[in-house]
């Protein structure tokens, strides 16, 4: 099967660029953040950043600039993509009506030309006459900014300087003038070139400066009155404007490399600079007024403000607040303070924006043993390195628990025991034939009695009503109790000694049913309940609800009354809506089937009323409810669990959510006006009530068959990310179930000092509970470099030089504490790790593959495979094996170890003498970087020769090459989808699928892997893992027949899913995709087919064999008329093999199910 569905489960989070300006309106101050191929538009408000819109671009954003031309009050946004699509965007309308209008667009690629190694640079003339693009060596492309013409003719001008480091337009020039840093054999030089727009050529050079600093890399054009530019180098900063120049070489900038800047003052007298170590600097130009009134730069001052996330870009917003965009760590909103804090930092972090990028490696584990995977990623780099635990669904954090079996219902009450009437202090528990009361005393709970409460009957409802009363409904009566006296105020008993069995209540209304009889009561004067109406229904009542759902009730539920109630009936299995107070039925919805409704609930989600009906088999119907007529529509069904489900509303962050209590507890909430069903990390919940007590604020009380738990709930959102900061770069991760640990390979930066190596900063490996190290003295091999001192200070390395030090960290799976750090030898890079059992040995081992890296060698010639055992809090080196190269990948293989070492794939067996012994090898690779196995098959991902399939012949004890892909793909990750289908990711951000054709007639054909799928992902995949983020059972209940699930993690911090589709369904989705591509008018007018076409430097081929899940799933966000436009005339197979016209509802159902696989 070669039909794949690829979709983003977690969008990319690395910030690649950010700009500030007036984009959405001339009065709005906006922050626009680019995250690979998405833009996020924010508004700066008194409350902080308010997210406005996320805009997808069909291309990786290479450059993003805001500019204001002529008399415009609003900024225009210029974007250039990696595949050379240029566009100028403007914004019109406000709020939900906001539209992004593509004013200008076109592809600016040239047919010939060598793409510059220093990347794409785009610059805009400060007077907005032209845009300059440095795309290819030796050429500068000019786009004249002419507002009135319908066609803009861009042209190239030849630029003599081939190796350009940076280029910028100078301020205040009569003709557009660029300043460049270029490099030649002698060093780096700065030069200005004036552009003659008429001749389409460079005119003159007004000034130049040869031999600036050899590492000068960045130019900051300075506005008038100063003019000129700042030249930023590794060690020095120079201001130059042709007439005069000032250079400073402050020691504080030498430690790292300045990579980004942000202008603070419009007149350019202050700039913020950020470096690779995360230092934030302020650069100030000190001015000097001359006698003739002109001002010049007298001096440059630079000061360290503090430390932030390693910045990729930064921009000043307003009132001392700065946005720091990061690729390696969380982006930040920071405030600059005039007075420093105790750490001498002028920077306070106001807000952080979670970033998983770059995801270097990851593993899927089921830590809670709930049948649901959690993803643990190696994220970030350098000081921002961290482990991230990513979990789908909502977590309950247990605060207290008591063993109490047989609970039939729970309610929290405000009884004023502590004198504070605004918090809950009592929990009422209902059992068969009795009711018990627990009083909350701080964190303690003690059993108590409330005189007015009936305790020898089962309670169906108990809660505060009116001003200071409590209502209790039991089998025999409805009674009111005074909060003040705790005594009974009044009661109502059903006529003829009937026994109540189903009830519902809100703050002033009561519904109770005894068999087919339904009674409606209202509270009067806070002291009594009065029967208002009574009817006898067709069948017995199964469930009831009278939650007020008129719009507005969400803000103040206590003062609104319900004008309708919902009833679920036995026998005819229907949901009915009755008017209040008359109980007159006006809507009936047959549910079908034979399972009775067990719980019914009306809820207002994001202002939209819904009716939810949960059945006895764990399935749930939900309807939207017309806010005025209260009629039901949009019937939908989902399966939540397998047991009868109880629906209970609760509030979290002032929004309504519903807790579905069942054997698979679920939280139902609304996001983007769609209902989301998010599972909870608990095995089973029978009943639930919200609790807000002094000791347990904003908590939930959850009853299982055996116990009551008080817990707090995660913020309501789909994916939950927990961060474990490491402070150094995590490289590889493996999970060992037996020892309940993770093995994590990290690298940190140490500085060579005369006394030896010193860590540049404290991090996970320096702060571990215990440490050990590999010494080349006792090792099988000698570290080739450090000959003078075997395990310590660098014999060769210069003092002050930075050196990478690799560690194996043993991390506890529960606390994520670093239990142990094992440091590898100097110059020894740990590259791979696997946890496995070997041979007949019962012990699980962490196996680590390393390389000894010598700068002079083109590739490593030596390395090790080291076996570690973690037991009783000690890490022991069990064995080591010298290998002739870098061990890039390790895979467990039938109790043996498979290793990729330079260009060879080798299999090692574990002998009785506890030694690794080479069994067989396979050559024929350039560099074998990635290995995956399935049964006896081995998939090898090569540096530049795509993928190869090997088979291990057990009898012969050797490898046989089965087939290979002959395309020259430079691989970044590989995975086996099934016995014949293989997935690859390569370094031009494409995915491809190859198939083995075992049935082919000739040997030659059988040895070819055929490329059957191609897709441009727009992001580089570092890792593929089989597994899923959703519950195992979720897939069973879905109507969509997807097969298998591979997760991937990317450089930009995205997590995606690749799953396989049956042919029929693939063709259906392919048709939906084509129609979606027609309905959605892409920003920048880049065709969807262009965006998803497989593109490398060598070739462009159309997308094939892949469905773009991101496009498909955006169907759910379309307006209903656009949905109709997509659905119109689409044929669907309704399961019988017959085709019929698909309805919008059919497609919604299918796509909603597709969204539930991630």
């Amino acid at each position: 099967m070669a039909h794949n569905y690829v979709v983003t489960a977690h969008k990319q989070t690395a910030v690649t660029s950010c700009v500030t300006g007036n984009f959405t309106s001339s009065n709005d101050l906006n922050l626009i953040v680019a995250k690979n191929y998405r833009l996020e538009i924010y508004l700066v408000t008194p409350e902080g950043l308010r997210p406005l819109k996320e805009v997808g671009i069909y291309g990786k954003i290479a450059v993003m600039k805001l500019y204001k031309s002529g008399n415009d009050k609003k900024d225009s946004l210029f974007i250039l993509t990696q595949r050379y699509n240029a566009m100028i965007l403007e914004c019109s309308g406000e709020g939900e009506n906001m539209e992004i209008i593509t004013k200008t667009q076109g592809n600016v690629a040239d047919k010939i030309g060598k793409p510059s190694e220093t990347g794409i640079i785009a610059i805009i003339d400060p007077d907005c006459r032209v845009i300059g693009l440095r795309l290819y060596d030796g050429l500068l492309k000019i786009i004249p900014l002419e507002k009135d013409s319908s066609e803009i003719k861009a042209y190239n001008i030849r630029i003599e300087e081939l190796c350009i480091q940076d280029i910028a337009f100078l301020y205040g020039c009569a003709n557009p003038t660029v300043v460049i840093i270029h490099q030649d054999a002698h060093g780096r030089h700065v030069k200005t070139r004036e552009i003659s727009l008429r001749d389409k050529e460079f005119a003159k050079t007004s000034w130049k400066q040869d031999n600036v600093e050899t590492e000068a890399s960045m130019l900051l054009p300075v506005p008038e009155p100063y003019g000129g530019a700042l030249i930023i180098g590794q060690e020095s900063i120079t201001y130059h404007n042709g007439q005069n120049y000032v250079t400073i070489a402050p020691p504080i900038i030498k430690q790292s490399t300045i990579t980004c800047y942000g202008k603070v003052d419009p007149n350019g007298s202050r700039y913020l600079l950020g470096d690779l170590a995360g230092h934030l600097f302020m650069l100030v130009l000190e001015k000097e007024e001359k006698m003739d009134g002109t001002v010049t730069v007298r001096d440059i001052k630079i000061e360290l403000l503090g430390e932030v996330s390693i910045p990729e870009c930064l921009t000043y917003l307003d009132n001392g607040v700065v946005f720091i965009g990061s690729r390696f760590g969380d982006s930040q909103l920071v405030k600059l303070n005039v007075t420093p804090d105790e750490n001498n930092s002028y920077v306070t972090v106001m807000e952080t924006f979670t970033n998983l990028a770059p995801i270097v490696d990851m593993t899927i584990v089921d830590l809670d043993r709930q049948g649901q995977g959690q993803l643990v990623t190696c994220s970030g780099a350098y000081k921002e390195g961290s482990l991230r635990i990513i979990r789908n669904g909502i977590g309950i954090h247990e605060q207290a628990s008591i063993d109490l079996p047989g609970i039939k219902g729970i309610w929290a009450l405000k009884m004023g025991f502590s004198g504070n009437q605004s918090v809950d202090d009592t929990v009422v528990l209902s059992f068969v034939g009795q009711t018990r009361v627990l009083m909350l005393n701080g964190e303690e709970m003690e059993e108590t009695e409330i005189p007015g409460l009936i305790s020898d009957q089962q309670t169906f409802f108990c809660g505060n009503v009116g001003k200071d009363s409590v209502l209790q409904i039991t089998t025999g009566s409805v009674r009111l109790i005074s909060v003040n006296t705790k005594q009974k105020l009044s009661d109502w008993t059903p006529p003829d000694g009937k026994m109540l069995n189903v009830v519902a209540c809100n703050h002033g209304q009561v519904l109770c049913a005894a068999g087919r009889d339904l009674y409606y009561l209202e509270m009067e004067d806070d002291t009594q309940v009065i029967l208002k109406s009574h009817i006898t229904l067709d069948y017995e009542v199964a469930c009831l609800d009278l939650t007020p759902i008129s719009v507005g009730s969400q803000h103040n539920p206590s003062i609104t009354t319900a004008d309708v109630c919902a009833v679920g009936l036995w026998t005819d299995i229907s949901a009915r809506i009755l008017k209040l107070p008359t109980l007159e039925e006006f809507h009936k919805e047959p549910l079908g089937g034979e399972i009775i409704p067990r719980s019914i609930l009306m809820a207002l989600f994001e202002g939209t009323p819904y009716l939810l009906v949960a059945l006895g088999d764990g399935s749930l119907f939900y309807f939207s409810m017309n806010p005025v007529t209260k009629l039901l529509g949009d019937r939908k069904k989902v399966t939540l669990g397998t047991q009868p489900t109880v629906l209970r509303p609760f509030r979290s962050q002032s929004t309504v959510n519903v807790f579905a209590c069942s054997d698979r507890p679920t939280v139902i909430y609304s996001s983007n006006h769609k209902l989301v069903f998010s599972n909870v990390n608990l095995k089973e919940v029978a009943h639930m009530c919200p609790l807000n007590s002094e000791a347990y604020p904003d908590s939930l009380v959850l009853a299982t068959d055996t116990a009551v738990t008080i817990g707090t709930i995660d913020e309501i959102q789909k994916l939950h990310i927990r961060t474990v900061p490491l402070g150094e770069s995590p490289r590889r991760i493996a999970y060992q179930e037996n020892t309940q640990t993770f093995g994590v390979i990290t690298s940190r930066v140490d500085i060579v000092e005369s006394s030896g190596l010193t860590p540049a900063r404290q991090s996970a490996s320096t702060q571990a509970q215990s440490v050990s190290s590999s010494s080349s003295l006792g090792s099988a091999i000698k570290a080739p470099v450090s000959t003078r001192d075997s395990c310590g200070s660098g014999g060769v390395a210069e003092i002050g030089q930075e050196i990478e030090v690799y560690n194996l960290l043993i991390v506890d799976q529960h606390s994520f504490a670093v239990l142990h750090a094992h440091q590898f030898m100097q110059n020894e890079y740990a590259l791979s790790i696997v946890s496995t059992r070997l041979g007949d040995d019962v012990n699980p081992y962490y196996v680590v593959g390393t390389a000894l890296v010598v700068p002079e060698e083109s590739e490593p010639k030596q390395g090790r495979i080291v076996l570690f055992q973690w037991s009783d809090g000690k890490l022991t080196t069990v064995a080591e094996k010298e290998v002739k190269g870098a061990c890039y990948s390790l895979v467990d293989f039938n109790a043996k170890i498979l290793a990729a070492i330079n260009n060879v794939v080798r299999l090692y067996e574990w002998t009785a003498e506890k030694e690794l012994r080479l069994e067989c090898s396979n050559f024929n690779h350039i560099i074998a970087l990635y290995l995956k196995r399935k049964g006896d098959f081995i998939l090898v991902g090569d540096l530049m020769r795509s993928i190869t399939l090997l088979q291990y012949k057990t009898m012969e004890g050797s490898f046989e090459e089965m087939a290979r892909d002959s395309n020259p793909n430079w691989m970044s990750a590989v995975e086996i989808l099934d016995d014949d289908t293989f997935l690859g990711a390569e370094n031009s951000f494409n995915l491809f699928v190859c198939q083995k054709d075992s049935a082919a007639t000739t040997e030659e054909e059988r040895q070819q892997l055929t490329e059957v799928g191609r897709f441009h992902l727009g992001d580089m995949v570092n890792v593929f893992r089989h597994g899923s983020l959703v519950m195992d059972h979720a897939a069973e209940t879905l109507s969509t027949p997807t097969q298998g699930c591979v997760l991937f993690g990317t450089v930009h911090g995205a997590i995606g899913v690749v799953t396989q589709l049956p042919t029929e369904f693939y063709h259906f989705l392919s048709e939906v995709q084509t129609r979606m591509a027609r309905v959605i008018k892409p920003v920048g007018k880049i065709e969807h087919s262009f965006w998803r076409s497989f593109a490398t430097e060598r070739k462009v081929e159309p997308c094939e064999g892949f469905i773009d899940g991101d496009l498909i799933e955006s169907f759910l966000d379309l307006s209903s008329d656009k949905m109709k436009e997509v659905a119109n005339g689409l044929q669907i197979d309704d399961g019988s093999g017959m085709k019929r016209e698909a309805t919008v509802e059919d497609i919604i159902k299918l796509i909603e199910d597709l969204t539930r696989i991630h």
Binding site: L29, E40, P46, I143, I152, V264, D318, K1081, D1117
Partner: protein, 97 residues
């Protein structure tokens, strides 16, 4: 002294709207932002007002053309000068001495 110097660096930072960020408060416990902007789905067609096209002329050809034109112009003006000069020139009558 150094501290005051830096503090001066940070005085008078630009202000576009003095209210911005004044009512900012994040949870003391978590500063992590979970707000996400809603996704913009463009379904309205706006005809593009301008299209960028790259000039097809080869750089070398353009250069040669320019040179040729320049030369031509020079020659023309030279010719013009010559012609004009010759037209205005009057034969010397007093050739005989």
């Amino acid at each position: 002294m150094k501290m005051t110097a830096t503090a001066d660096f940070l005085k008078g930072l630009p202000c576009y709207n003095e209210n911005n960020f004044t009512r900012f408060h994040s949870d003391a416990s978590s500063k992590v932002s979970v707000k996400r902007p809603s996704v913009y789905l463009p379904t309205k067609e706006y005809p593009s007002e301008q299209i960028i096209v790259t000039e097809k002329t080869n750089i070398l050809l353009r250069y040669l053309h320019q040179q040729w034109e320049r030369k031509n112009k020079k020659r023309e003006s030279a010719n013009e000068m010559e012609e004009g000069a010759s037209a205005k020139k009057r034969p010397r009558l007093d050739t005989s001495v």
